[in-house]
Amino acid sequence: MQSFLQQIRGIFNRKKKETVPFKILFAEFKKSLELNNQVLDIIADANDKLSGDYIFDEQYIQSTCMELTDLIRQLIVTINHLTEQKYSELYTSFHLIEEEIESLLQGQMLNQVKDLILPYASVTRDLTDSVGGKNAHIAEIGTLTDLRIPEGFAITTAAFLFFLQENELYDWIFTIRKQWRQKVIPVEEASQKIQRAILDATVPPQLEEVILDAAAQISKGYRDIVPCFAVRSSALGEDEISSFAGQYLSCLNIPVKEIPQAYKEVVASLFSPEAMEYRLQMDFRPHEIMMAVACQLMVPAKASGVMYTYDPVRPEMETMIINSAWGLGEPIVAGEVPTDAFVLDRQPPNDVREMQIVRKDQSMVLRGCGGIGIDGVEEEQRTESSLTKRQLQELARIGVRLERYFKRPQDIEFAVDQQERVIVLQSRQLRLQHERAPRACDLTGLGDKYSIIFRGRGIAAMEGIATGEAWVMREGGDLKDFPMGGILVARHATPQLARVINRATGFITDVGSTTGHLATVAREFRVPALFNTENGTELIRHGQEITLDTECLTVYEGIVQELQYYSIQEEPIEEMYEYRLLRRVLKKIEPLNLTDPEADNFTPRGCRTYHDLTRFVHEKAVETIIDLNFYHAHNRDTQAGRLVWDYPLDLILIDVGGGIEGEHEKGIRPEQITSVPMRALLRGMSYPGMWDMSPAGVDFSSFMSSLTRTTSVRSTSPEDVGRNLAVVSAEYTNINFRLGYHFTVIDAYVSDNILDNHIYFRFSGGVTETTRRARRTRLLGRILSHYDFLCEMHGDIVVARLKRTDRERMLQRLFLLGLLVGFTRQLDVKMVSEEMITTFFNEIKTIMEKENGK
């Protein structure tokens, strides 16, 4: 690469201008492309580390971030060189992101949102630091499963800090805390002082307003009743450490107006003597002492209860345990009232194995005007079961569902409302007794006990163990029929399969990449996934029960109980700090917000992640080269013109020496192009029929115009034109196409010297993933590999390289790339089924044979 770049540079040395010579610009431009590719590859690799198949440490995360930061800095320097510092604002965005990543790496808790409140619909797991575990859990259940939860919103840790700081309490509290830690005052005194100060403080009007608004927003939906709320603690660390449960306050049935007062009470409970002592034991640091609060619409419960998805003392019994009583759940959780007890089979149809109905004389009920009370239960209900058989069945299903979702046994609080519907109030991990836990070493020799369908095949896209019914996806099969809790077995790991993510307990595919979309989704939802098993779909029978162990790359026939127990005991990787840290920093790196160059946010300030910065720089680099060499023609050492041909491809050609001949004021006709690689490419691109190979009813002209702009040179300003650029010389071509959301880069040098010859091809799709894109990627991979290219695929990026091949073969391959460029843009529309891959592959092969006689 270096040697031939130098050759190109040599071409320019003839002329000297006061403007930046093109050779320098072009070198910078190519550098920006190279950096761009490096960044995207590192990001794809880092995401792959989340699969659980890797062992990585903090050191890796640190060095990856450092490397990326360094590359991004170089990218920004490069684009500013190219544009005479036009985008110096990029440094501002860059430093902001860099600082955020840095503080994450230093273990600082980030208040990820500045919002004082967040409706449950906008709460995700990543916001746990802002809303506390309880809020995050219940909101996630509501958003990502079809289970019912109470409507509600979170009052964030940002609100907590705002409240304390407005009242000048924050520093003061930690002074008091210090006095206690230094044994100047006893814990009771410290607690009392702090709690009183909090209760005496004023909720700032700005906070009060958003709280009342959010509550009113929810209340709007209820005309017949005056809705009241449960105001509960959701402190940082409360959910992870189960013995914390019950330390903090919950206020029940609070009318909207009284929520701010209840808020203060819940916040004050953060400083109860017990909680203060407890945090001391757990070595909480001051910045971890924060209280978010949950405001949930009160459920007027007919009955309530608690379910354990395993018997914590005897998990091997394979049972679920449910305790319930009439009315609200608080006295049940506190163990203050007698409860009905049910023991259910964990396996469907979840038969009731034991049932003990007790006499329930009293129940806790809501009072109309707010508050709660204890009432006597109607005589005939006292000895009746507080749950119906149907509700028990539903609870069993909910339990399995939550357990599969959170990957641990669950301790679930629930209520049955007046319409007899089961509502999940809370779900947290259930700790099983440790001595019962199967040990890893007991798991050897499972192969003798269970029959193995296959072993040592494939790669783990997401680590884990899954048991369930195999559902083998056939051509034309409908994912609608996929059963709850099934393991999806498919030929390809297409993004479309992600549709069943909420129902699937595992994925097995014959073909698939660990950096693809499905892999990413599987990690997000922690569903074990094994890809590239080659013929899993043939070995596994539709409907048979199987156990998937991705770590051992093994699929067993039937349910392997030992592995099932083992998997629920094992610490899931996402509970490890390094995993969470990588996930957190990737949120600042990976998401792409700048998807549309025409959109308002496509600015330096709009860049919020490293990916955004990369995308922005790439767009502007291409634009700048076109702008300087074509529209403004600064560079006398180049000649530039627009390609004029039968196809509406808006392409600017920049000739750096011997690539174009003749006059080009009115545009360049294909026959004027003398660049050898460019001619071969264009011959492929204009091959008859390539623009419209299949009979699919796509309107050709509108389709093309969506991909490239076809406005004339004179009637348009540079900003309005598509960014298709080709830099050519007699033996060299560098092409950058942006067609819709797809990017194609081709860099080729073809001469009689085999050693210098090379072709580099890079194709990347846009932001939104579709099945068709995945098929397109596979089609490209298949074709390119067939024609000797060395292919790499990261997600839907395809990179192909060919070197040291003779001139004639190089030109044939460039012709092929031309075919593909002309053709792949249609593929998103036409890749309607898996068979199309073979169909198109064969068509391309036919053309190649006809054209090249082989």
Partner: protein, 128 residues
């Protein structure tokens, strides 16, 4: 020797390494002890021999290189596998000079280290 479990000692100051590696290797039937400080690991190898030692190179206190040197001096037939985040040619060369069985750059896949360990095990069983 045939029926005895192969014993492995893991030393890495980043707890996540042992935490992930130990259960994964135990599941494959190995007897595993894991340490996060070289002092503790050193004390343990002075008490008993391990068939295989997996160690990081850069750590607080006794350096991984020192540790593996001592292990190899004391038990020449213990196979040592080095895992490191700072893989340079120089450290790799030095490790091999000390008779290290293999050298893995972090991050690595569970499958990769399992493969190396299986090879080391084969070598040990083959020589005894």
């Amino acid at each position: 020797m045939e029926n005895k479990q192969t014993s492995i000692l893991i030393l890495d100051d980043e707890p996540i390494v042992s935490k992930r590696l130990k259960p994964s290797l135990e599941k494959k039937g190995y007897e595993v002890e894991a340490f996060t400080t070289s002092a503790a690991a050193l004390a343990r190898v002075r008490e008993r021999q391990f068939d295989i030692v997996v160690t990081d190179l850069k750590m607080e206190g006794v350096d991984g290189m020192q540790f593996l040197t001592e292990v190899k001096e004391k038990y020449p037939d213990t196979e040592v596998i080095v895992i490191t985040g700072f893989a340079t040619m120089a450290t790799a060369k030095e490790s091999f000079n000390k008779g290290v069985f293999d050298f893995l750059a972090k991050p690595f896949k569970l499958g990769e280290i399992a493969e190396v360990i299986a090879k080391a095990e084969k070598k040990i069983k083959g020589t005894k």
